[in-house]
Symmetry: C2
Subunit: 493 residues, 2 copies
């Protein structure tokens, strides 16, 4: 392997001027890869040469390289230095903006949704579809130790009803943590729930009535569609770009044209590492969206459950960080980033906090104290942060493996999203592939995917699917993903 | 104390012929008390004399007397034999049947409801109002041991989403236990929830739409009223007798007159140790009610949460035991009889089981596995039964203390229910007492009661209150209850 010519690098040419120096270095190296100056298996510039070229300290370069390594962008080879890894985007293109019909409509229930929930737990099925972090990626020993200690030290009140809004120890941890989300929340801004799905359910109950319309990205988080249907509400899908998020002009038009009979009362969005599209909205768009909602008196129900799973150094801000008037109902949990079985989440419901407290009490009185204290201790002790530091590069790496297999086995013309965090991919197959048929054919071989139509009130996206990279990568997964690709290729003809 | 003349006793004269012999003896002794042959502080017939008189074995008499003792009917005095205790009904009469206006109506939200939920946890307040078992009555050490062991032995899946309908170990325990409820249910008849309130919430979602009417006893379990309101449904209160339950003729008339616009789609009832009235419906009435609902295609949402807290030997059957066509949605948990903080309950939803599974998944995915396994082990190990054997006589005794204080301190003309299980009392004060004022006046002294109007969609019962005997009896409770009585007496003028 002949080392490439030294690549020209500078810190002036990119958009990250306000970032810390090491982040600017990360972006500069990425820029060289993006513009083709550095290709897979090229030797990366040495730390010493970058130190000289850029005029920043060796320590800063070392920090940047350790981030790039964690991100799977470069790898260190013994006694030889750093090399550029195979990049996910070396072949695959990203999908185009979606164009759903923009009408308020009833959601049709989809049988596949419930069967997917069941499939998620059938031991023999390799599930590439549901948006869950595999239990093998949980820090089980530490969780067991922490929860055991909480149980051992619990007094009688640990086995008594907790009080809405939740245990103060957890509320306080969340308030402290909100600083890292670029928010500045207080303990009493939060209400504890049994997971983020309950948070969103409560949010819908608080901000809309039967007959009201909820606007949302298209495609969207499908269980929410089903909940909207169940609560007698209507859904309106807004065109969405897999790189930048919801089309805010289209949203504004939809709000202007909102029917008197089914008015748009709320907007649902996953602004960070979107489910299923993977994008992060820019800060400008986030601010614009919050301003738009504030001006039109529309509530924003935000699902920020993937926000901590950023591959880059900085945690993207939730919409809540841009919310001055309390129009954002911020919903989240650690079910996608620590473990899913505690069933503890939260909502920071802005101006609806009193309503949400009342509905939470009516729904199931309270969330178990022992689970709340366990989560509080995971945050306080630093376990969660240590776990994240391991989890992020693992997910990044698995996603890279997914890209390789997709590039090799999926039909020509396939496009796929390229998220910078989370663990979900949205795959757009050639138009003639019927993904419901693909779903059924792979299920015969005990491999499950999430077919596109369930992500849409109007059952669009019949040539699309969602894949989950929240798995420990091994031969069986590779086999299963290849099977999906080969079956799709066969169906593409 | 002069022993009373030997009382005439026989096993022929009562309605319990199909009961076990020891139960017949219990009823026979109770009959002597009820007809005045035996009065408080009288010596009870000796075991030997009853053995001779009734011609049943000594062992049977001993068993009957130990039940009567547990029930607080007789007490053993050292070296002297058994004596009749002060009976709860020695002074107080039971309230009359209620007569609510029978119309489909929207529930008005009541601020006191949420404030009561908050008061329930304020350490300085003595809460005589909420229907909760005090944490001091939980078997904390055993709960801690069992839950600790579940956590210690849990694998990764213990921290993963559980699958609806719930963990099989718990489902199997419930199926086995249903035999004692005179039901014969299978594991897959149940769906596990985060407590009985969630079960009822899911049941409402499954059987009714916004605009539909839910019929119910009057007074009724007030959080359900608030949920009905939140879901856009209407409430219809049916006249109810504190001794026998809902007036089924009135119900039948209400169904016949049911408005096309707000049809009665479901009936909500607490058939065993009713909240708040304390009655147990007779088996005949239970059968009649289920037949009526079946004939008119109306769902029955049954809350059986107090059923295990029977003071007499036999556990009353839930409506589910009379349900052949699957019209009963049986909801319950052990939150009122073991501990409230696990937040695990269940629903056996009959013909709606598939809907309920779907809505449970949409509401909060699943109930924590570790909590479910803890409850399963409490049942399997016999802890729950051992705990019940202690709890029932404790509650019975506390209720007796309540009666004594009520008889001493409440205004003349007060009537109070006399339940044979559970831990709730419904008190009817003289008509001129404004219970909202009573609520506010006692709250100034940090004593809380549950005022009557919150138990009614039409805010009736403004001279009534509910009291909770699920407390360890001590001087402070006696002081608080006396305060309520004296304040009521003052308000009665």
């Amino acid at each position: 392997m002949v080392p490439s010519k030294p690549a020209l690098i500078s810190l002036d040419s990119h958009a990250g001027k306000n970032l810390p120096l090491y982040e600017q270095v990360v972006l500069a190296v990425r820029g060289l890869i993006d513009n083709g100056s550095l290709r897979p298996n090229d030797k990366a510039p040495s730390i010493r040469s970058l130190h000289k070229q850029l005029g920043v300290s060796m320590a800063t370069i070392v920090q940047a390289y350790s981030i790039l390594e964690a991100q799977g962008v470069i790898e260190s080879r013994p006694r030889s230095g750093f090399y550029i890894c195979n990049q996910p985007d070396f072949q695959l293109r990203e999908p185009e903006k979606t164009t759903p019909a923009q009408i308020s409509r009833k959601v049709s229930t989809h049988e596949i949704v419930l069967s997917m929930a069941e499939i998620g737990h059938t031991p023999d099925i390799i599930n590439l579809g549901t948006a869950t972090l595999d239990a093998e990626l949980f820090p089980i020993k530490a969780l067991r130790r922490i929860m055991g200690s909480v149980v051992r030290h619990s007094d009688a009140l640990g086995f008594y009803y907790d009080m809405v809004p939740g245990d103060y120890k957890l509320l306080k941890q969340l308030a402290q943590r909100s600083l890292r989300w670029h928010c500045r929340m207080k303990a009493d801004d939060f209400v504890i729930t049994n997971g983020a799905m309950e948070s969103m359910h409560l949010a819908l109950l608080a901000v809309a009535k039967p007959g009201d319309t909820i606007a949302m990205e298209s495609p969207t988080f499908y269980p929410l569609l089903q909940t909207i249907h169940r609560l007698g509400m209507y859904a309106m899908e807004i065109p969405t770009d897999p790189r930048t998020g919801m089309d805010l002009d289209a949203l504004q038009t939809a709000i202007k044209n909102s029917q008197h009979k089914h008015p748009i009362k709320a907007l649902f969005t996953v602004p960070n590492f979107n489910n299923p599209l993977g994008f992060v909205m820019s800060d400008d768009n986030k601010q614009h969206l919050v301003d738009l909602a504030t001006a039109h008196d529309i509530a924003i129900i935000e699902d920020d459950i993937y926000g901590d799973l950023h591959f880059d150094a900085i945690r993207p801000a939730p919409l809540k960080a841009f919310d001055k008037e309390g129009v954002v109902l911020h919903c989240s949990s650690l079910s996608k980033s620590l473990c899913s079985g505690l069933r503890v989440g939260w909502i920071a419901p802005g101006r609806w906090v009193e309503d949400i407290k009342r509905y939470k009490y009516l729904m199931n009185v309270s969330t178990p104290t022992i689970s709340q204290l366990t989560l509080a201790e995971c945050l306080r002790s630093g376990l969660y942060d240590r776990h994240l530091a391991q989890l992020r590069p693992t997910l990044r790496q698995t996603m890279g493996q997914f890209f390789e297999v997709i590039a090799k086995t999926f039909p020509k013309g396939t496009t796929v999203t390229q998220p910078r965090g989370g663990f979900l991919l949205w795959v757009v197959l050639p138009e003639n592939v019927n993904v419901t048929q693909l779903y059924q054919e792979t299920l015969v071989h005990n491999v499950s995917i999430a077919p596109g139509p369930i992500f849409s009130a109007g059952q669009e996206y019949n040539n699309c699917l969602r894949l989950c990279c929240g798995l420990p990568w091994h031969d069986e997964i590779e086999w299963a993903l290849s099977l999906v690709g080969k079956t799709a290729t066969k169906l593409a003809g």
